[in-house]
């Protein structure tokens, strides 16, 4: 049900009226807001993992540019996770400041393109972060779904 609603949210636009008709059902604006917040919450869960996602991608792809990263994530998660532009570049700049990423610039067609790649420290940190992530996933699994835990 929830997924159905969130999917609908992508296709509907909120009009001036306080309620809106979606496939024959009347949805009040508060329901829509709540659903929207739920969807945002979903993205928030990913937000804390953004750095790990970027590092992992760079580990497998050697060097990448910002737009390529957003597209790759969309492709790998089949659209479930969309990294917003307003979050991606600050994250990349932070990783660069921390010395985990290095930059390269190349002229591609009629414009300059900035590529990011892992530094030596970055490669080490990627391994750490991935390990942390595995731990985190395991813990969450225990908490959320104790019956099906592996251990």
């Amino acid at each position: 049900m929830y997924q159905e609603h969130t999917k609908l949210l992508d296709t509907i636009s909120i009009k001036k009226s306080k309620s809106l008709e979606v496939t024959g059902k009347q949805l009040h604006i508060s329901t829509i807001k709540r659903l929207h917040i739920n969807k945002m919450g979903n993205q928030k869960l990913y937000k804390g993992s953004l750095q790990t996602i970027i590092l992992k991608l760079l580990e497998t792809n050697d060097k990448m540019y910002g737009y390529e990263i957003t597209q790759k994530v969309k492709e790998l998660t089949k659209g479930e996770l969309k990294i917003t532009e307003g979050a991606l570049y600050p994250a990349l700049h932070k990783l660069e400041a921390d010395g985990l990423l290095d930059v390269e610039v190349a002229k591609v067609g009629n414009r300059l393109r900035k590529y990011y790649k892992l530094t030596e420290n970055g490669t080490k940190e990627t391994a750490n972060k991935l390990e942390e992530m595995q731990e985190f996933l395991k813990t969450m699994q225990h908490l959320v779904n104790p019956k099906f835990s592996l251990e």
Binding site: G66, G86, A87, A91, A97, G109, R111
Partner: protein, 233 residues
């Protein structure tokens, strides 16, 4: 449809209009917008350049490019501090450490004189004055540079203006901290307070020297290291 050279120029203008002053940040955003516009055109080939551009810009959220610029500023300030630290380390290694210790010892001994207060105040005055002079000179130089090339580089501005301005501010605060309230109090200060004053003023001289002399001298090299695109423009 593909983005043309004219479109690229338009996109640079667009980023400037949305408060992105620096060429280094603009360049990354222009490439991103260009890629996204081309992608949008694949799905909606009839969309005009302006509409596709606005559609792409909306994805940056209500704050537009602000988050990106702010993150970049934080990154560059961090880089600047790291650069200062790198040069400061030299002062605690041979041979420069001899000079550091002499300065420290000299300032400490100085406190025994009745005129110590004035000497300390003069050191402060000179460093702050120098910073203000360099600040004004640099900001003129950067303005001229911008007029000639049409490009501003964030790290260059931090090296030549923000960094020095901030150091001047820190010094004003330190001034109050190091110096006693009246001229005679130097003689009455305890050993710990005396040592602390000497350490801080030594630090101030080294700090001033690095931000005013060492880093500006190496500015060109630092910029090239920071911006691989420097060679393309």
């Amino acid at each position: 449809m593909k983005i043309t050279q004219n479109h690229i120029k338009e996109l640079y203008k667009f980023t400037r209009k949305h408060y992105v002053e620096y060429y280094d940040v603009q360049t990354e955003l222009v490439d991103h917008l260009a890629n996204d516009i081309e992608q949008i055109w694949e799905e909606h080939p009839n969309l005009s350049f302006e509409d596709a551009r606005d559609k792409s810009f909306k994805k940056f959220g209500i704050f537009g490019f602000m988050d990106v610029v702010q993150a970049k500023e934080r990154q560059m300030t961090k880089k600047y501090l790291k650069t200062i630290l790198k040069f400061a380390k030299e002062w605690f290694q041979l041979p420069k450490i001899v000079l550091t210790i002499s300065l420290l010892f000299g300032f400490y001994q100085l406190q025994k004189l009745t005129s110590a207060y004035y000497v300390y105040a003069a050191v402060f005055g000179v460093v702050i004055l120098l910073e203000i002079i360099v600040l004004i000179r640099n900001s003129r130089k950067l303005k001229k540079n911008y007029k000639e090339t049409g490009k501003k580089w964030m790290f260059q501005k931090i090296i030549s203006i923000n960094g020095i301005g901030n150091s001047a501010l820190i010094l004003f605060y330190l001034y109050d901290f190091i110096l006693p309230d009246s001229t005679k109090d130097f003689l009455l200060m305890g050993d710990f307070r005396k040592a602390l004053s000497a350490i801080l003023i030594t630090f101030l001289v080294i700090f001033g020297y690095i931000t005013l002399v060492v880093i500006p001298k190496k500015a060109e090299q630092l910029l090239q290291e920071t911006y691989p695109e420097y060679k393309f423009v």
